[in-house]
């Protein structure tokens, strides 16, 4: 009879311990394995301030549609252009993008002067390079997959579809999206599969 009592007792104990597990241990891993990393360094040497943000794209995908503030609703942000930039509203960015997508790789915009600007299409990426002033000026490099730009412009005329862009980013491969480098600060934004950044 002791055995009859002991068996259910041991079973209950085993179930209890198995159900408990370590504190709040997650039961499943994230669905998407892509992470968006942002590194910002302001200043140099020991006085520098460094900020590192690592966000899983799946988290961004989940959170962005839930943001409901000001001009940001349902994963889309409304663009309202006024003042000196009002003329930009007349530009049909979707048609420009369509034209860019259908053309071969190459440079589309090159501005040479005090600042040098270059906009190009290369291997399915939209590439923008800005070089401010002489050699020591600000350098900006942007390299965005075309699918992401298309997803970004997939909303209404005056909307940017951020949620779709993040989704497209997650479906794309690893890569550096933005680097900004000047004498005082450095910014780097990239996507990879590592959940920690260097």
């Amino acid at each position: 009879m002791k055995r009859l009592v002991a068996v259910p007792g041991i079973l209950i104990l085993a179930l209890g311990v198995a159900a408990a597990g370590p504190a709040g241990k997650s039961t499943s891993k994230s669905s998407s394995d892509k992470w968006l990393h942002v590194h910002v360094q302001d200043g140099s040497g020991e006085e520098a301030e460094r900020v590192k943000v690592n966000v899983p794209l799946s988290l961004a995908e989940a959170v962005i549609p839930a943001i409901n503030v000001d001009k940001f609703h349902g994963g889309k942000v409304k663009i309202e252009v006024d003042g000196e930039d009002h003329g930009i509203q007349d530009v049909d960015f979707r048609k420009v993008l369509q034209a860019l997508r259908d053309t071969k790789d190459g440079n589309f915009v090159t501005v040479e002067g005090k600042d040098n600007i270059q906009v190009a299409k290369q291997g399915g990426y939209l590439i923008a390079k800005v070089r401010e002033g002489s050699g020591s000026g600000t350098k900006v490099d942007v390299k965005v997959p075309f699918q992401v730009v298309e997803a970004l412009l997939s909303g209404k005329d005056n909307e940017l579809n951020i949620a779709a862009a993040v989704r497209a980013l997650g479906e794309h491969g690893d890569g550096v999206l933005v680097t900004v480098d000047d004498q005082k600060s450095k910014v780097r934004i990239w996507v990879d599969s590592e959940n920690e950044s260097e």
Binding site: M1, K29, S30, R50, L59, A62, V63
Partner: protein, 185 residues
């Protein structure tokens, strides 16, 4: 039955009760362990500064939340907080599934901040020139707080305190709250 137990090779009622109590204690301990510990540690760095440390079993939070009246919380909830609840809820649901990682790291000359996820717990460490703060929050505890806040927000929405837009509607329409003024615990 008692007689049968008593007659079988010395097995007694008191022994059975003791075993049941032991099993109960182990199960209760396992449950408390599964909910994790909320730890808060604050140390002021100035001479003679205060040191404050507290560790509370996470299991206390759902119990405590059960006693808090959602209606009263809802009355005092700022509209901005209500507006951001869906976002926090979405983030929290997802954070629970994340592997160990550092979400935010700030290192400056006078301050260091880390927001990390470790074993399903949110760890926040702040170390600046004035204070050193360490907080550990089991996600399960945060979930129960969120559930209560959601209930409270429904009361706030029912009473029209939610500001200009309904937080549960992404397109910001008024009056489409699913619960209206029904009773919510």
């Amino acid at each position: 039955m008692l007689r049968i137990f008593g007659n079988e090779r010395g097995f007694s009622l008191s022994g059975g009760m003791l075993a049941a109590a032991g099993v109960g204690a182990i199960l209760a301990g396992s449950f408390v362990y599964s909910q994790g510990l909320i730890r808060v540690s604050v140390s002021e760095k100035n001479p003679g500064g205060d040191h404050f440390r507290i560790a509370v079993p996470g299991v206390v939070v759902p119990v405590a939340m059960a006693f808090l009246p959602a209606r009263e919380i809802g009355k005092h909830m700022p509209a901005e907080a209500i507006q951001h609840l869906p976002m926090i809820e979405a983030a929290l649901d997802h954070l629970r599934t994340l592997p160990d990682c550092t979400l935010v790291q700030v290192d400056g000359p006078d301050e260091h901040v880390r927001v990390r996820v470790r074993d399903g717990q949110m760890l926040v460490d702040v170390n600046d020139s004035g204070d050193e703060v360490h907080v550990t929050l089991p996600m399960g505890s945060l979930r129960s707080v969120m559930s209560k806040l959601e209930s409270a927000a429904q009361y706030a929405g029912a009473q029209g305190n939610a500001g200009e837009s309904c937080p549960w509607s992404h397109d910001g329409h008024h009056g489409d709250h699913p619960h209206g003024s029904e009773e919510i615990d």
